[in-house]
Symmetry: C2
Subunit: 141 residues, 2 copies
DNA sequence: TATTAGTTTATAATAATTATAACTATGGAA
DNA sequence: TTCCATAGTTATAATTATTATAAACTAATA
């Protein structure tokens, strides 16, 4: 709680009740929630929360560099809360987005073909570990 | 024209007038159009074309592996028509998506952390060559 | 107390995409 | 030729994520 407030303050974000709760949810959940997932979680604690607040808060967080926006799924934006740079796996079976610790060869190159690179976004499509082991378990039956 | 028909036939896609024209537009344009851009181009040649046809056709093309869907821009889907695997640059200045010939170290790894990898999507965010040189020209004035 | 800025909420507007059903063209069978 | 079936196209409506707008609320301060 105190930590969350400090995190917000360090980014010049006024730590309101709603913002603290949203950050808390982002910390607890690892699979890159969309606005609706966050909203549903929030409802359990703040039944009067508005979806607009979720949108506003996340866009403030993104502006201040607290979260990264992932455009991996075509339907909606996903939000990534983790300090170190990393890539993602979009599981085509269960739909989860999972962190993958992989560096790209060009990770620190700031210039390619004359273009100036500011950010690297990479992701894999495939089937996650959990779905694979579930498959195996099914076959053995 | 004949070539376009052959390309469609080789993928088991019946070469209708509309489909040929859409493929033609994809061949001519390099910057990863969205549905609306393609639709606007089509209107010049087929004024009665429907946007639904564009959606249908592109989803057929994607199914048959003729195009790849890019979820780089948050607003809408972009379509990539090019044979060889490559990455992209999203220019934050002009909004174009530009092909970048760069291989990732893990490009042929099919397994990471126990996950099965089927496809790699990578893109960079930055400022493209053209926008950069435009900046320079402005400064010199 | 009154005021102000910042935050949250409710509501409406926008826009990409999908769903549905009607229409059209084509090619084969009778 | 005429009829029919199928695939493809079109028009229209429905869905849904996101943004815009304005009103209501909160907390701090003069």
């Amino acid at each position: 709680m105190e930590d969350l407030i400090k995190i917000l303050q360090s980014r010049n974000i006024h730590p309101s009740h709603q913002r603290i709760k949203i950050l808390e949810i982002l910390e607890k959940n690892e699979d890159h929630m969309n606005v609706n997932m966050i909203y549903e979680e929030l409802l359990k604690e703040i039944p009067t929360i508005s979806k607009t607040t979720v949108y506003n808060t996340l866009s403030t967080f993104a502006e201040k560099g607290l979260v990264h926006c992932l455009t991996i799924t075509p339907e909606e934006m996903r939000y990534d809360y983790r300090a170190n740079p990393h890539h993602h796996l979009l599981c085509t079976r269960c739909g989860r987005i999972i962190d993958v610790d992989v560096q790209c060869r060009y990770a620190d190159t700031m210039e390619i073909d004359g273009h100036c690179i500011e950010e690297i976004q990479g992701y894999f499509k495939g089937i996650c570990r959990e779905c694979l082991s579930h498959d195996k378990a099914q076959k053995q039956k």
